[in-house]
Symmetry: C2
Subunit: 375 residues, 2 copies
């Protein structure tokens, strides 16, 4: 995919470094890693929707085990490089995968995220110029430790932003208490890569979901809907106005934000309560403006229809290629070869973006915005 | 908007006929109609998210009252015609608004829906050629009464399909027990206009939502997400294959389906459980195929970005103009004049659809597909 002048950059690519996985192995509640008799690999269990069959599982070898097999793709740096080479990806901006350190006891949060971030920085240093990373924040730590952790990130080579879930300090990203965090990040020019994890309550998938539909519903819909709701709550709370230098990169092309932005704006314009409390007066920045000034979207949307909407919403200079590796490996071909989950997104860009926009989306924008040169 | 040859057709436009409203006035749980001292009009309260402040309300006149004012726009046929004339709408396909008769005691369901459907048919007869309607089904009635009610619809003039919520017989539209209903509808060539009502659980909106964000979150996101989930559950359950003649019209341009279809397809292709249970083998019809063969989308999406995605997903011949009247009245201009919630959608079509597609979307397709001539 690369040309001589334009790098291919993957901004959505995860790892669980070894120290993080050993922590998960000791846990008895999600997230956790567990081995099952007869299964070749331990299973990585992350989602509420996956633990329903945790107690039932273990008798069948392959079918019905919860979560996903913990292959070398999750933790091995060599595997990441092999994946990059196979798909002609020049640079990857790696990040810890969900649920990051959202669940840690307050006293463990800062040391654990520090260790993880240092580990990421060292992995990048082992392959200079090919790897950068988004750091993890100790969100459950006391606020002074959390603010200090952000400052510390500037001392870590190859750190280019932070990855963040939607829970914030526990009650969402529209919590006024999280504003100092966003300000501190903006001040340090660290963009936020916003990524879902919590999805929607299981009741939304109905009584037949877990037995009949695999992981499709929570992954295909819970994740993007969670992201959309989180950003809209931030927008309604005025976070983007309060922290005008905050830059966000939204996973999965913003969830569903490009498609729903029109409806969200219309609902705001037609809301009696917002009008009565003077929240829709002149000077209000619309969601469309915020999309074009403070939001980047990854291109992980798996269709030309979605990719075009993402580009139309944020502009061709604000959409960035990603793979979501190591999730969505091929099931019917060799996982050491090409991944269809990658080619679907690359093809969508080739089909739906203008020739001029394609190199921007495939890597030029990420290289420029995230300053992907040097340490 | 009309040209001499092409009618403008509104396929998404609601009414609460007088008999339905008097039923709501007698209720003490949602949906209900209630008067508050100092308020000019009674309030129509439909959503779980709106009853949080039901008990607190009533002291302030305008601010903080739950639900929305029950203006003449909800029940008056003259008002509907005035609205149509103001917006140059030639034909409206009216439907009962949510939550329809989903909540009725089984013994009341068939008589109440019959009365409502007859009332709609009479309203259409009073303005021949300008009004048609989607009927309501007695979903809580015993199955034989429900099937009989569908057969009865063929005797009602001006009936052109049914409006349906997402709860089905109580556990969703992927319930195998609802298949005979879909078959009976398909056999009678009655398309289903699928419309949301139940949204997402309030917890998704966070602790600040009801006080600070008005109705924005449940309306702007709960509704379209509900529709997307319902259709995807139907798709995964194989309903579209089991009833290949079933035709659905999805409210709000399919919720978020055009944007998420790529991700849904990818999640299906990469799901280990579906692969192990042979649900992803050759011959499987993709969601894209179903979108182009069994699904129509309304054009109620309030942006060129969304409209383009809807057209790209289903094809320009499967998208139909709608207004969502009487919801989203203008707050700052005279509601007897033009509504911005209408012009936003008309402008999106003018901006984002090809000239050839515009008359199709504005009315030609609806007139042909729903056979909007004669009784």
């Amino acid at each position: 995919m690369a040309t001589s002048t334009s790098p291919v950059v993957d901004i959505h690519t995860h790892m669980y470094p070894p120290s993080y996985l050993s922590m998960l192995e000791k846990r008895t509640t999600i997230p956790l890693v567990r081995s099952f008799p007869g299964a070749n690999e331990p299973r990585l269990i992350l989602l509420e929707a996956e633990i329903e069959n945790l107690e039932k599982a273990g008798k069948d070898a392959a079918v019905g085990l919860p979560g996903r097999p913990l292959t070398s793709h999750y933790a091995s740096l060599e595997q990441k490089l092999h994946f990059m080479n196979t798909h002609k990806i020049d640079i990857s901006v790696i990040s810890l995968a969900n649920p990051w350190c959202d669940f840690l006891e307050p006293e463990n949060a800062a040391p654990q995220t520090r260790a993880t971030n240092v580990e990421f920085s060292q992995m990048c240093a082992a392959h200079p110029g090919r790897l950068y990373f988004f750091a993890t924040l100790p969100l459950t730590a006391p606020i002074d430790q959390l603010l200090e952790a952000i400052t510390e990130l500037k001392t870590l080579d190859y750190c280019r932003g932070v990855i963040l879930g939607t829970s914030g300090l526990g009650s969402g990203l529209d919590d006024p208490k999280i504003l100092p965090i966003f300000s501190q990040l903006a001040q340090n020019k660290l963009p936020v890569f916003l990524h879902p994890h919590y999805g929607l309550p299981n009741e939304m998938w109905g009584p037949r979901a877990s037995a009949e539909y695999g992981h499709v519903l929570p992954l295909a819909m819970g994740f993007p809907m969670e992201t959309t709701i989180a950003v809209t709550r931030m927008f309604l709370a005025g976070v983007f106005d309060a922290v005008p230098d905050l830059q966000m990169i939204l996973a999965h092309s913003g969830g569903t934000l490009p498609f729903l932005a029109g409806r969200i704006e219309s609902c705001i314009m037609h809301d009696g309560h917002l009008a009565a409390t003077n929240k829709t007066g002149p000077g209000r920045r619309s969601l469309w403006t915020v999309l074009r000034e403070q939001i980047y979207l990854d291109a992980v949307v798996y269709s030309p229809v979605g990719l075009k909407a993402a580009v139309d919403a944020s502009g061709p200079g604000r959409v960035m290629f990603g793979t979501d590796h190591p999730f969505f490996p091929p099931l019917k071909t060799d996982p050491q070869g090409e991944w269809e989950s990658v080619s679907l997104n690359a093809e969508a860009i080739a089909l739906a973006a203008s020739p001029g926009a394609q190199s921007a989306i495939m890597g030029d924008t990420a290289a420029r915005v995230l300053n992907l040169t040097g340490k």
